[in-house]
Symmetry: C2
Subunit: 219 residues, 2 copies
């Protein structure tokens, strides 16, 4: 959707066009948007074509109301701003399911981690990790997560080596309960390693390449 049409729709909504028909000439809208009458008229025509508004054209006035399609577009925009300001306690990732190389099973199989998962996250993790390759641009969001802290699991010794400290975030994976596990050190990664009490691949019937939404909850 073109940015200027969204702005126009927003102005209409602010004037009450979501719940009511409002009486508004293209000239008045133009003043509100700081543009010309012709441009405002064109915007209304475009919004009408896209079925985001309905109009009743009279000889001296037109009645405008935002349709459900238009309201959805605004609602969507509202969600973005909510995410920015209100729900900074929530970070959403989009990515694709990929296969690891089996190391997930090796690590989650370690009693040192498994016990801490149960104690700190409140569930017994299904063996193995569920790996989501996130879009490259979203790696910034991982930095965001790290800044917020998260649930830190202690390092431990086993099999005559050290298993490093990891940071966890409670999360949902396509809606299912789970957590994201990030190594404490090593900063960038384009794969989110997730654990869950469920076998996510089977429960959600997922395969490599499927689109996954991971929502991390902060604190």
């Amino acid at each position: 959707m073109k940015p200027y049409l969204l702005q126009t729709l927003k102005e209409l909504a602010l004037l009450g066009a979501i719940h009511n028909k409002i009486e508004l000439s293209s000239h008045e809208l133009a003043q509100q948007l700081q543009t010309s009458q012709q441009t405002a008229s064109r915007y209304l025509l475009e919004l009408d074509t896209q079925e985001m508004i309905t109009r009743e054209l009279g000889v001296k006035k037109q009645l405008i109301q935002i349709t459900s399609i238009g309201a959805d577009a605004l609602e969507n925009e509202h969600m973005s701003y909510k995410q920015i300001f209100d729900l900074s306690s929530k970070v959403t990732f989009k990515g694709k399911l990929v296969s690891g190389m089996g190391e997930g099973k090796y690590y989650t199989g370690q009693k040192g981690y498994a016990d801490q998962f149960e104690k700190r996250l409140g569930f017994i993790a299904y063996p193995g990790t569920f790996n989501v390759e996130i879009e490259y641009i979203e790696r910034n969001k991982i930095r965001l997560l790290r800044n917020y802290g998260g649930i830190e699991l202690e390092e431990f010794q086993a099999e005559s080596r050290t298993f490093g400290s990891v940071v966890c975030f409670k999360a949902t994976i396509n809606g299912k309960e789970g957590a994201i596990v990030l190594p404490k050190r090593s900063h960038y990664a384009n794969v989110l390693e997730c654990i869950s009490p469920y076998n996510l691949r089977d429960t959600l019937d997922l395969h490599d390449g499927d689109t996954i939404e991971v929502v991390a909850y902060l604190q």
Copy 2:
């Protein structure tokens, strides 16, 4: 502010650029915005010029952070959406203080109205009305108010005539407690008649032509 710059700022914020520096090339931003690298680069330059973002240009990456000016612009946009969706229990008017022709004092002086103000609004109205001439376009918001109902005061007889029914909305006038009074019949008006327990002109030191913000609270 140009709509496309606001959209760009929003995307940056969604990637976490409000609280942190984020690492983002113009090419990546272009993908996010579905445009070309050149255009994304230009957007960043424009935002930089307007001091909405700061940049640290490295040879292989740039670090971007939204400034307080940029955050304000987003916050402002957020408020608009809040007004549309969350606080549809609140309607904001902007206008200028104007003088009535003294009829306000005549009406508010009527015991029939004064008693109902006290009983239904919870305050003893200072004699006279405080008249705010709203911008023409905002008359649609009055219709919005009427649709929500409001506090209806009964008509009564006095001085061998009928004083008609009016609809009130609790409101703040430049932050001060008060109410908007609309005649039950007669649909359009470009002047909001406000009452308050205070002498608003004196208390707020206001004069004709001053800008007034009236916030009406629904039910």
